[in-house]
């Protein structure tokens, strides 16, 4: 005999919203393009095939740059770089942030205060400034240092979030039950804490991904981002600034690519939150 199960309504939010589908499609498109550039691009990115600053045409969908290279090719490669920046930065942020956040969540009050102070500083060191510092002082700007800097800066936010989420999980009775069952702290982290905070973290990672792409663009604008010949969108935008009156399309097209990826990520994240957040399953 069993108790009458209250017919739990399938949580309304589990439906895939149109916004989520749009987001997933945009992100998917960028990923596909990024992968495609590994094996094929319309032109050799270094080949100076068109005239200087040619307007969009059938041959060059987004026109050409000052060296007569195909802009569409560069924008496609930009997708790959954006994805590299985003995933690299998020991976770094996740590795550092989740570890520190978990330590802080478990830490005693005194240790926690020190960690909290450290996190405060990391948050107070504005992401971009920190990145600039490292890139500017580093041994030659390259994509790697930019990614590292952005990742470290983002790790503060991830750590803070992890700490809050983990604390919430640690207050649950099932953690007490696990302790009573003899599960070690490491086991508790692995079996209970991580799986429960993961969905929310993933959502945050998607947002951080977008922020990293924007941060890279801003760094490039300040001349501190991914150096050439990396065709990062930020650098394309920065270069196009000088020619914005003669070849406005060069300033618009990379911008559209960037905005569409970031919006895609945000929509995707919002949708993911509704699908994945376990706290939304219970009313």
């Amino acid at each position: 005999m069993t108790d009458a199960a209250p017919a739990l309504a399938p949580p309304a939010s589990r439906r895939l919203t149109p916004a989520f589908l749009v987001g997933a499609a945009l992100v998917g498109l960028h990923v596909a393009v990024g992968l495609l550039t590994l094996v094929w691009t319309p032109y050799d990115p270094a080949a100076m095939t068109g005239g200087r600053l040619a307007p969009p045409s059938l041959l060059h969908w987004a026109g050409t740059d000052r060296l007569g290279r195909d802009l569409f090719t560069e924008i496609m490669i930009g997708a790959r770089i954006a994805l590299a920046v985003g995933s690299g930065a998020v991976a770094i942020a996740a590795a550092i942030g989740v570890t520190v956040g978990l330590l802080a969540a478990f830490a005693s009050r005194a240790v926690d205060d020190v960690l909290a102070a450290t996190l405060d500083i990391l948050i107070a060191f504005p992401t971009l400034l920190l990145a600039m510092l490292i890139v500017a002082a580093g041994d030659g700007a390259n994509l790697g240092t930019a990614i590292l800097a952005i990742g470290i800066a983002a790790s503060a936010i991830v750590a803070r979030l992890t700490r809050i989420l983990a604390r919430r999980v640690l207050a649950m009775d099932y953690i007490t039950a696990a302790r009573v069952s003899g599960t070690s702290w490491l086991g508790i982290v692995r079996i209970h804490v991580l799986p429960n905070i993961w969905p929310t973290l993933i959502v945050n990672f998607a947002l951080q991904f977008g922020l990293a792409v924007i941060a890279e663009a801003s760094l490039s604008y300040l001349g501190l981002g991914a150096p050439p010949p990396n065709a990062s969108w930020g650098r394309l935008l920065q270069e196009a600034q000088a020619t914005v009156y003669t070849a406005p399309f060069g300033a618009i097209a990379p911008g559209i690519a960037l905005v569409s990826l970031v919006i895609g990520l945000n929509l995707f994240a919002d949708g993911l939150r509704d699908v994945a957040d376990p706290t939304r399953r219970r009313r």
């Binding site: 450290t118 060191f125 002082a137 604390r167 924007i214 945000n266």
Partner: protein, 320 residues
């Protein structure tokens, strides 16, 4: 509360110290010689050595650090290697631009985001509620400098409504001119910032809308709007305040980029040229002061949050 203020202040002080040390080490441990800024093509080895002596980059790092700590203890940020001007003095001068710029942008963003965010939550089923959400999505996705360039092109170059760049040398002695000059930079930061704020305000409002106390108020006769105003604003403010602290950090950052777009003589341009020149005292000073500002704002946000939310006040009120 008092105990909390004491503890929080202690954390603040520790943070400031760590920040100072980290800044110093980051700058010194990475390659680059500030002496290079003082020499030009044609200089010989003796001249380069002289430049190193002048800026102190010939000393061991430990000695430089001790000197730096000694200076900090005297509230002295040193003098710029390239201009010789005391950094604190220069920062003070630049802050008269950056601080109002950030504060006004911040204020405009909040004033813009509050009504729009609440509207987006309350009227989420209407077309305009949805529109606000979508537009704020765009705002979050667009880099600051792009918006800045767009605004300049439209309002300065095409419509000639505002100046395209710069800040009057008379500063704030003529506040109207100064404001007119800063209108576009303020708008640029405010737009970007309000986009993300709108999203936070919206979700805080949604939490309030779904709350039991709102239902209680309505059940006892309060109209929807009245209940929302009376109970929603403060309750919604609690999560938003803590976000504001973090957002301000990114506003300061936006200010750096915006100062570049609009050629404004603020803290950001001081930092950028300092980085270019490896002018350690300047870079260190600017980063230290901006970190301090954000820490102070975080401090203020935490205290405000406790003032608004009595639940956080008790002795056992653990930080969230």
């Amino acid at each position: 509360m008092l105990a909390y203020v004491v503890r929080r202040t202690a954390i603040l002080l520790v943070s400031v110290l760590i920040a100072a040390a980290v800044l110093f080490l980051l700058l010194r441990l990475l390659p680059g010689d500030p002496a290079n800024a003082l020499v030009s093509v044609g200089a010989d080895a003796d001249q380069i050595e002289a430049a190193r002596r002048q800026v102190g980059s010939d000393l061991p790092i430990a000695a430089q650090f001790v000197r730096y700590l000694g200076q900090l203890g005297r509230f002295d940020l040193g003098a710029s290697f390239v201009s010789g001007v005391p950094v604190l003095e220069e920062i003070g001068r630049r802050l008269t631009l950056t601080l109002p710029l950030t504060a006004l942008a911040f204020l405009s963003a909040v004033l813009l985001a509050l009504p729009l965010g609440i509207l987006a939550a309350v009227k989420r089923d209407r077309w305009y509620g949805g529109l606000i959400s979508i537009v704020s999505q765009f705002g979050v996705a667009v880099p600051v400098f792009w918006i800045g360039i767009l605004l300049v092109t439209a309002f300065a170059v095409k419509l000639r409504l505002f100046p395209s760049s710069g800040f009057p040398p008379s500063g704030w002695r003529d506040p109207l001119t100064a404001l007119h000059q800063l209108a576009l930079p303020i708008l640029t930061i405010a737009l970007v910032m309000s986009a993300s704020l709108i999203r936070y305000v919206r979700s805080a409002t949604l939490d309030v809308i779904g709350s039991d106390y709102l239902r209680t108020a309505r059940a006892l006769g309060a109209g929807y709007g009245e209940a929302l105003v009376r109970h929603g604003i403060r309750n919604g403010a609690v999560p938003v305040i803590s976000i504001l602290g973090i957002e301000l950090a990114s506003t300061l950052l936006g200010a750096v980029v915006v100062e570049r777009v609009f050629s404004l003589p603020g803290l950001g341009s001081m930092l950028l040229s300092g980085i270019e020149q490896r002018d350690y005292p300047s870079v260190q000073g600017v980063l230290f002061v901006s970190t301090l500002l954000v820490l102070l704002v975080g401090f203020a946000a935490d205290l405000t949050q406790r003032l608004v939310d009595p639940r956080l006040r008790g002795p056992s009120g653990a930080r969230s």
